[in-house]
């Protein structure tokens, strides 16, 4: 320290000043922090947000348990392999998320979205009464279905169970409602076609949505099982039901036909045509041991024609032989 004498010691004075400045900075930081979390700011908190019966507070625990943050970003923090999820709910909406999350390895089709919208809980949360209205309210859902519907994603299938999908949707609803001071920056470069043209040089031909397989004339189909597979894919059944012995959200279909199925009440039942038909149309009538009632959409009795149901059963029967 450069002291000329005891009284004239500029270095000591400078160091004291630095300490005082540091104290001041700390005071500013504490005051700013206090103001940041005052309830009068009106920032949304997770205990205020729910999706049906699912709480956003529970969803946050699911989000952390699967370590979503080390692939995705949330409020921009995390890894940079996968998209930012902050405004995902606002962009794609609850029906798209409900169709996507159970089997994230594939992009949902329009039929899968329609199925989810028949769920009163999902429709009420989305606040719409038709697919067209849904697309208007959540334009990201239409982009996703048009450009990617039915294709595979880079996301691995995650073994969500119970209400975890619904809880995650509640959590993403919460982050969507958060005021993040305008981040991410608003996109101002025009329509999707224009933006794609800017990136790829020429306008991409957007693939026309695949015509619903359910509309095809069954009488003309020689192979009922083949038609059943198409229907199952289109309606998103295969998003939850594996056919290769690796159970997803719902029970595995491979080698199911004719087997004895154990139910939650302890009894067992033969997986015949009657049982399978009932399980498609009234999913909660018999619950397989280890699975939760209410997870599978209950609107297939309105969505599927009797011939489609028969075709799906025939498809499941064909899996027995593989």
């Amino acid at each position: 320290m450069s002291c000329l004498d005891e009284k004239n010691c500029p270095e000591v004075r400078r160091r004291r000043l630095a300490l005082v400045m540091f104290g001041l900075m700390m005071l500013v930081f504490i005051v700013l922090s206090g103001f940041s979390f005052l309830s009068s700011r009106g920032q949304v908190t997770p205990d205020q947000v729910s999706f049906g019966a699912n709480q956003a507070t529970a969803g946050k625990r699911v989000f952390q348990a699967y370590n979503c943050m080390d692939c995705h970003t949330l409020v921009g923090n995390g890894a940079y392999l996968a998209p930012d999820l902050t405004k995902e709910y606002q962009d794609a909406g609850p029906a798209w998320l409900a169709a996507f999350l159970p089997s994230a390895g594939g992009w949902p089709t329009e039929a899968a979205l329609r199925t989810q919208l028949l769920n009163k809980e999902v429709a009420a949360d989305a606040g719409v009464d038709s697919l067209d209205a849904y697309y208007r309210k959540y334009p990201g859902a239409k982009d996703r279905v048009d450009r990617r519907g039915g294709k595979t994603t880079f996301m691995p299938n995650l073994p969500f169970h119970g209400n975890e999908v619904g809880e995650l949707i509640a959590y993403l609803k919460y982050t969507s409602e958060m005021d993040t001071e305008g981040w991410p920056p608003k996109v101002m470069t025009g329509t999707l076609d224009h933006r794609l043209a800017l990136l790829h040089g020429t306008p991409l031909v957007v693939a026309a949505p695949v015509a619903p397989a359910a509309a095809a004339n069954v009488a003309d189909t020689h192979d009922l099982a083949e038609h059943g597979e198409a229907v199952a894919k289109d309606f998103g059944c295969l998003a939850c039901h594996a056919v290769d012995g690796k159970p997803l959200v719902g029970p595995d279909w491979g080698h199911l036909y004719g087997a004895q199925v154990k139910l939650t009440d302890g009894s067992s039942v033969a997986a015949d045509d009657a049982y399978l038909t009932e399980s498609i149309l009234k999913p909660n009538a018999k619950i397989v041991a280890g699975y939760t009632p209410g997870v599978m959409p209950q609107q297939y009795d309105q969505l599927l024609k009797p011939d489609d149901v028969k075709a799906i059963v025939a498809y499941i029967r064909s899996l027995e032989k593989r």
Partner: protein
């Protein structure tokens, strides 16, 4: 000084060896991440990207800490002029650290099944937060470990009246290391509040604690390497730490721009964290002064190489690249993109990793009494990891520049369809430079493990002396200032590149020419100047061996006080 003065200094050896081992494993996980970035289907379903990244980040923290602990244990007795207190506690700390690391590596993979180990509202096995992936159980053990380290250091140090600035720096460092860790140890249900406290740990560790330990250790290593005056280093350590804290305390605000906290943080964050490079410029300048004070020849080249690398990459990665994205107007674009890992790899591996390796290169030959150890592998490995990490930063930064345009300006968030093809070549380059870094890491681990043990060529260090002209002529202060200015000019171009995304021409018309052009000049220019400067600095140091007669190593050096 090529021998040790106190027997307990030998306890640092095991931590340096652990550091080198973990470094190799961590870089291995990094390579796997690079492959998964290039092809996301690699090991999908077996070892998902998020698990690999959690291992990569956790191990990165663990090996840097091992290096710190090793360095602190090595200099502790020298600073105190007595043996370490309670060496048995240090041995316990070592085994506890290994158990914790293995445990943490195992529990991270539970994320694939969604198991966090909830009990009493806390995630005990893994908690799925970036940088703080360790579950509560591991965190508790780590807290105990930090307390042991702090306790041993404080009990070893002489009475407080005899402390100089290096003692204060290290004492504050180890105590704050423990204290700040506490902020990551409770579950917060609000996202904004959770991020607020998560940055307490991440930012204040790096900016408030690691930086303080870094400055103190660099200062003392320079004292050991160049017999620099302790008082002049003490002056640099005090003002280095003071500037770090004065700018870094409120500088944390740059993490509070978009997490749901109020807008006023944008003002404080942009203002104060723009000053965060000041202590780094200060530290940079002092390493120049200290290294050039008495023109001593370079006895231990690898140790100085890595210490210089640490200070220069701190300047470039933490200082310049950090500066470019610390303003709300630039951060709005860089946030959540590859621009961030460009900064993070240089700042974390560069600053703190290289310091640990440099300290190991100083301590390990001294402990093995290998005064004439073969320094060629160390030199080569330095250039491999230096070029490797700079190349990775360049690939991340240029990839990030494209990513901002596609993702934020055009709003095309379909990674597989639009973003990945657009970033394609850079995703590949990250892995290529990562491979170079990995080979360098392997060399470092091999060299540190076998220094003084392998049969070496007697002539190994007697290579043709570098001429003290051209690149080897003495580096003047004026010239060092020119180099530093050149780095900051390119840093300014990088900042303008990020700023230009706000222009209507880019943001509304969707024309990326300007940001691409500025980034295309700024990043390669910055990193090229960095390599050339390090080359120039080291060449001038190497030339000293040729001009000055070799000085016999002093038996021990009188320090402290």
């Amino acid at each position: 000084m090529m021998q040790i003065s106190y027997q307990t200094q030998r306890l640092s050896m095991r931590f340096f060896m652990l550091m080198a081992t973990l470094f190799v494993v961590q870089v291995g996980f990094g390579l796997l991440l690079g492959l998964q970035q290039a092809d996301p289907t690699v090991l999908a379903g077996t070892l998902n990207f998020n698990v690999v990244r959690a291992e990569h980040l956790s191990l990165g923290i663990f090996w840097i800490l091992s290096g710190f602990i090793g360095a602190i244990l090595f200099v502790g007795p020298l600073l105190s002029k007595r043996e370490l207190a309670a060496p048995w506690l240090i041995k316990f700390l070592f085994y506890a650290l290994i158990v914790t690391i293995v445990w943490n590596m195992a529990t991270q993979s539970l994320a694939m099944k969604g198991i966090a180990g909830w009990w009493e509202g806390q995630p005990w096995l893994q908690q799925g937060l970036e940088y703080l992936e360790a579950g509560r159980a591991a965190q508790v053990v780590i807290l105990i470990g930090f307390s042991i380290l702090a306790g041993v250091v404080l009990r070893t140090f002489p009475p407080r009246k005899e402390w100089n600035e290096i003692h204060w720096g290290l004492a504050i460092g180890v105590v704050a290391l423990t204290a700040v860790w506490l902020f990551g140890m409770f579950y917060v249900s609000r996202l904004d509040l959770q991020e607020y406290f998560r940055w307490f740990v991440v930012h204040y560790w790096v900016e408030g604690v690691w930086e303080v330990i870094h400055i103190s250790l660099i200062g003392f290593l320079l004292v050991l390497l160049f017999k620099v005056d302790v008082k002049s280093v003490g002056y640099a350590v005090f003002w280095g730490v003071a500037l770090v804290w004065l700018s870094g305390l409120l500088g944390n605000a740059h993490h509070y721009f978009w997490i749901g906290t109020p807008e006023f943080w944008q003002f404080w964050g942009s203002l104060l964290s723009a000053m965060e490079p000041l202590p780094l410029v200060f530290c940079f300048w002092h390493i120049y002064l200290d290294a050039h004070q008495n023109r001593r020849p370079l006895e231990n080249a690898p140790a100085f190489y890595f210490i210089l690398g640490s200070v220069v990459l701190e300047q470039v990665g933490a200082g310049i690249l950090g500066f470019s994205m610390t303003f709300a107007l630039t951060n709005a674009w860089s946030h959540g993109t590859w621009i961030t890992p460009a900064h993070a790899h240089l700042a974390l591996f560069g600053t703190f990793g290289m310091l640990g390796i440099g300290a190991a290169y100083y301590a390990v030959p001294a402990m093995r009494e290998a005064a004439n150890f073969d320094q060629r592998i160390g030199r080569l490995a330095f250039w491999m990891v230096m070029i490797g990490v700079l190349g990775m930063a360049l690939s991340f930064a240029l990839g990030g520049t494209v990513q901002i345009y596609v993702y934020r300006t055009l709003g095309l968030h379909w990674f597989g369809g639009d973003l990945f093809p657009a970033m394609g070549v850079y995703r590949l380059l990250v892995a290529v430079f990562g491979f170079l870094l990995a080979v360098g890491a392997g060399l470092i681990a091999f060299d540190l493990a076998t220094i003084g043990k392998r049969t070496r060529s007697v002539m190994a260090n007697h290579r043709a002396p570098r001429a003290a002209s051209g690149w080897g002529r003495p580096l003047s202060g004026f010239e060092a200032g020119i180099w530093l200015t050149a780095m900051w000019v390119f840093g300014g171009i990088v900042t303008l590149s990020l700023l230009s995304y706000n222009l209507p021409r880019v943001r509304v018309d969707g024309d990326p020419t300007l940001p691409y052009l500025l980034a295309g000049i700024g990043y390669p220019g910055l990193l090229l100047v960095t390599v050339l400067f390090v080359w120039r600095f080291l060449a001038s140091m190497e030339a000293r061996t040729a001009t000055a007669p070799a000085v016999m190593p002093a038996a021990a050096v009188a320090v402290a006080g």
